[in-house]
């Protein structure tokens, strides 16, 4: 139909206030989505940038040898930031003492991300600097200063050259947990390395090439680089580089996405409700238009044009509002967010615009398309029901729109389908339940006083609408509960992952004769430690008589099921133990008795077993220090890799490896102020190596705090949009309520009675919705935690109290406030309007 007419009708509808609610819903929907996506986008960027400081870069190539200079040239041409580090172990000498140290030589551009903290006094926070020491100077980690008995300004020898110790190094960004970072740190300038002459052919060196830049540029560069790297050289970003952080970030991202998704659904529901109301109010209009000669196709065309126009206005305004709101929120929250937020990108705005439009079309179109089937006879007989001809098509549009939007938004079809199908099943079951609840409410109501009877009778008379309303309320509360529960268990899980006294130091290379003295020393100093585990290097050479390498090649060719995971044929650290280590769980088979004596048994980690198709009962042959050892798989275990304790893929039964020479390892917890203990420990047992992971644990904790904060913010935003949905839903039932209460009041019902029945009606609706929400949330949370977040599901008894209470209070309150107008409007005005 002609645009001009559509514009006129749009303007006339707007002028008469018919469109206000719809436009407001649309504004809120687009605004919320834009706000959330923009904010989440900025927060994600910030978190990623913050975590990039763990690498001191966005991407790193790590290698034992210098890489092809062509790669560096290429990075330069692509405009990427670059830095280099070289790490090696060496002795440093003061005039009195010597100490084994992990030397890191850095180029002038290091670090690309994050910062260094130095100080003039050891163990004290000093100043933040953005580059390493200049040539001729070195910086020492705090505890090296007392152990070498030097002060800043003194001179140390490294190789054949002397350096001035100019600062104490308090913090470096990329002091990750890698095993090469053993020993206390000495930081020097890369250009000084040749002068020391410590780097000789055969030295154990780690070259790290750091890159920084835009994500797209980095992705392109990585795609270009990877085929050019040797097999044992890796390029990685923060997620692959640091396991613990990657995990936390992944889950946080998923949560934020989930939050956004739920925001989209809530916004959609708000739009659908307003569109429904718009349509309801327009049935009579359409009937009149039809008597005046408007055809069904013409009606479709007219209203679709109106809605597209409305969509344009709504989404543009909405994204503007969202942008402003997000700026406001960021500004207000800046003091509480421990990271600097980067400028928002364009994608979220685009996302918000499209979301608004798709929402409008898929949620508003269904009720809209029903307009076409309005019978013109309605002008004579108002009781004629509006046909349901296009219902199926309409629902299909809604379903496709919702799924499409969720998919596009999350880029995760699994998550999308899970939430969608969960929602659908919940909806079906819940609508049945809602109906039964309403019925039973009526039966109860018959025995109650007049206010109650009025309220419950009213609810039941409008049974279908109320079922719908309970569903909408229930859905909104359910989404909020889901988000709240997942948030709670995520945060609990993270906190449990790194308990306050988690081990933060690993001790390795402990010789057998030092095991007892070290154990005693730890006990004497009241230091909580894990058992000392023997560590013997070895690999699986045969599986059930077949050469392991051949078997592996055959398996990778024939099945493609588990491509990821550790390979069986690599050299691994083996150990033996009588008791199963903490946080290990047997998933199949059985752990042996602590005093087991007999043929060698092994317990395998579950990913290793899955990747290589190994199961309980398989006969394995190991090659250890040139000798063969047969062992039978007796159990498969899950391992909590991120618990900062010695963890092993392969554990032998006691005594199986006793004949093999081994070193031992353990982990223990040491407070920052007790770090001086390390000096004594290392002096007494000079051959052992201590890996300090307290820095990385500190960093993981920071990240988790930030992510938790982000998640709580998103929860807050969703809460607001949930409340808006409730309002929209109550608005949608306003006409009906006005009419009912006007009639009641002309019949002599007092304000108190009308008010009372309204309060009761909303509270009961809320209560029912809360019960349904609790059921739905429990089921969905089970699925989400098990499948998406990989958390261990536990029932939530609180939910069953929380749901109904929240429902009754929230909806009772919002409903009553929103309908105060009903009671305040004189009945004559309402009744005149009804004519």
């Amino acid at each position: 139909m002609r645009l001009g007419l559509a514009l006129k009708l749009l303007w006339r509808d707007w002028r008469s206030g018919e469109l206000t609610l719809l436009l407001v819903s649309l504004l809120i929907a687009v605004g919320t989505v834009t706000t959330i996506t923009l904010f989440v986008d900025r927060l994600q960027q910030a978190l990623l940038a913050e975590s990039a400081t763990f690498l001191a870069a966005d991407r790193v190539i790590s290698s034992n040898q210098p890489i092809d200079p062509q790669i560096l040239t290429e990075a330069r041409t692509r405009g990427l930031g670059q830095a280099e580090t070289l790490t090696f172990l060496s002795m440093v000498f003061s005039s009195e003492r010597a100490q084994f140290a992990a030397v890191k030589a850095v180029s002038d551009t290091y670090p690309l991300r994050g910062e260094l903290i130095t100080s003039d006094k050891p163990f004290e926070f000093g100043e933040i600097v953005t580059s390493g020491p200049p040539p001729g100077e070195i910086w020492l980690e705090s505890r090296l200063l007392p152990s070498l008995d030097v002060q800043p300004g003194d001179v140390l020898d490294l190789g054949v050259t002397s350096f001035v110790v100019s600062k104490a190094l308090i913090k470096e960004p990329d002091k990750g947990g890698g095993f090469s970072n053993t020993g206390p740190r000495v930081l020097m300038n890369l250009s000084d390395v040749p002068l020391t002459e410590v780097v000789q052919p055969g030295s154990r060196l780690t070259y790290r090439y750091l890159f920084s830049g835009e994500k797209q540029a980095l992705d392109d560069f990585q795609a270009w680089v990877e085929p050019r790297l040797d097999e044992n050289v890796r390029m990685f970003g923060v997620k692959e580089g640091t396991e613990g952080i990657g995990n936390a970030l992944d889950r946080a991202e998923r949560f934020l996405l989930l939050g956004g998704l739920l925001g989209v659904i809530l916004a959609g529901v708000a739009i659908a409700l307003s569109a429904q109301r718009y349509s309801l109010r327009h049935y009579d209009h359409v009937a009149i238009l039809k008597t005046l000669g408007a055809t069904p196709n013409g009606i479709d065309g007219l209203f679709i044009t109106i809605f597209v126009l409305l969509g344009l206005i709504g989404t543009l305004l909405g994204s503007g509002v969202g942008y402003m709101a997000q700026i406001g929120i960021s500004a207000a929250l800046q003091p509480f967010i421990p990271v600097e937020l980067p400028a928002p990108g364009m994608r979220p705005i685009w996302l918000g615009l499209t979301t608004g439009f798709v929402c409008l079309l898929s949620f508003a179109l269904p009720p809209l398309l029903k307009l076409r089937s309005t019978e013109p006879i309605r002008v004579i007989r108002r009781d004629i029901e509006v046909g349901t001809g296009s219902n199926r098509l309409a629902q299909l549009i809604g379903v496709v729109g919702t799924i499409g939007l969720m998919w596009w938004y999350s880029e995760d079809i699994e998550l999308t389908l899970m939430i969608f199908s969960g929602g659908l099943v919940a909806l079906l079951v819940l609508s049945g339940l809602a109906f039964i609840l309403l019925k039973s409410g009526r039966v109860l109501g018959m025995q109650a006083g007049s206010v109650w009877r009025l309220a419950l009778a009213g609810m039941q008379r409008r049974g279908q609408e109320n079922t719908m309303q309970i569903l909408v309320f229930g859905l909104a509360i359910m989404l909020l509960l889901i988000l709240f529960l997942v948030r709670t268990s995520l945060i609990e899980d993270w906190q449990a992952q790194i308990p306050v006294d988690a081990p933060n130091h690993f001790a390795m290379n402990i010789s057998p004769e030092d095991v007892e003295p070290i154990r005693n020393l730890l006990v004497e100093n009241d230091i909580r430690s894990q058992p000392l585990y023997p560590m013997i290097s070895g690999r699986i050479s045969k599986v059930n008589g077949e050469v392991a390498k051949e078997r592996e090649e055959r398996e990778t060719q024939t099945d493609d099921q588990e491509e990821r995971g550790p390979r069986a044929t690599s050299n691994r650290n083996l150990t033996y133990a009588g008791e199963i280590p903490d946080d290990n769980l047997i998933t199949s088979g059985e752990w042996w008795a602590a005093d087991y004596v007999g043929p060698a048994l092994v317990s395998l980690e579950k990913d290793l077993a899955a990747r290589n198709g190994l199961k309980v009962g398989d006969a394995l042959e190991f090659t250890i220090q040139g000798r063969q050892l047969d062992a039978k798989v007796s159990s498969i275990r899950s391992v909590a890799w991120d618990n900062m304790q010695p963890n092993f893929y392969i554990i032998f039964s006691p005594a199986a490896l006793e004949d093999y020479p081994s070193t031992f390892m353990t982990s223990f917890h040491l407070e920052r102020e007790n770090k001086i203990f390390l000096n004594g420990l290392l002096r007494e047992f000079p051959t052992m190596t201590v890996i300090e992971v307290d820095a990385i644990i500190e960093q993981i904790k920071t990240i988790i705090t930030q992510v938790t904060m982000a998640i709580e913010l998103v929860l807050g935003l969703i809460l607001i949009s949930g409340a808006l949905v409730l309002l929209a839903s109550i608005q949608a039932s306003m006409d009906e309520r006005f009419k009912q209460h006007a009639i009641l009041r002309t019949l002599g019902a007092g304000r108190r009675l009308v008010m009372g029945s309204l309060v009761i009606e909303f509270c009961v609706l809320g209560l029912f919705a809360g019960v349904l929400a609790a059921i739905g949330a429990e089921i969905t949370v089970y699925g989400l935690e098990e499948q998406i977040f990989e958390l261990d599901y536990e029932p939530n008894p609180m939910l069953w109290l929380l749901g109904p209470v929240i429902g009754a209070v929230l909806i009772g309150l919002i409903g009553t406030i929103a309908t105060l107008k009903v009671v305040r409007t004189p009945p004559t005005i309402v009744l005149r309007g009804l004519n």
Binding site: I288, T291, G293, E375, I380, R832, N835
Partner: protein, 232 residues
Amino acid sequence: MIKTIDLGKTVQTSEGQLTILKGIDIEIKKSEAVAIVGASGSGKTTLLSLIAGLDTPSQGQIFLADQELTAMDEEQRAKARGEFVGFVFQAFQLLDSLTAIENVMLPAELKGDPEAESKAKELLVRVGLDHRMHHYPRQLSGGEQQRVALARAFASSAKILFADEPTGNLDTKTGATIIDLLFELNREFGTTLVLVTHDLRLAERCDRSILIDSGVITAEPIQAKASALIES
């Protein structure tokens, strides 16, 4: 202008099939004014909605301006309504979000007539509402609203005007004024008028009356019989 052959309408109710109209054969000539009269529930309004193409019959045929309505789908019926038919309803059926003039403009706008506004103005002047053009329906009295509805009915240059109890919601005096106006306009525009009413004085002003009783046309109505039927 209007012809029905063996027209019937039945609906399904919870107590089984209910026959509302049965075996209706009528013929109305061009420019004729015909009243359909009968008691409440006799089926007169159903008959009007069928011949106006607002509803579909269960059996029989309807011809409107030489076109068979019963062979059309809703799309075509809507076009036919737009082209030939104007309506006046008991409940006025104005769009309350539109002003008086916008309501009157609507039929012409739907046809894409660029002169919609000037025609609407003319008609509103004609029904004596030139001072109320920009008022909303809720700001108008019942009589004024019905005058707007009359203006709208003639705005589409309809050949046939259907009026369903046009004075049902008005007091006697206002009703009489509206009826005078209706017949005046009807004469001026040479429209065929089909009027549903239970007001016998109103029926008398038409060229003839069709009396419906329990869904069938009783023998060519005698005024006395009609009044007896209606009053009983």
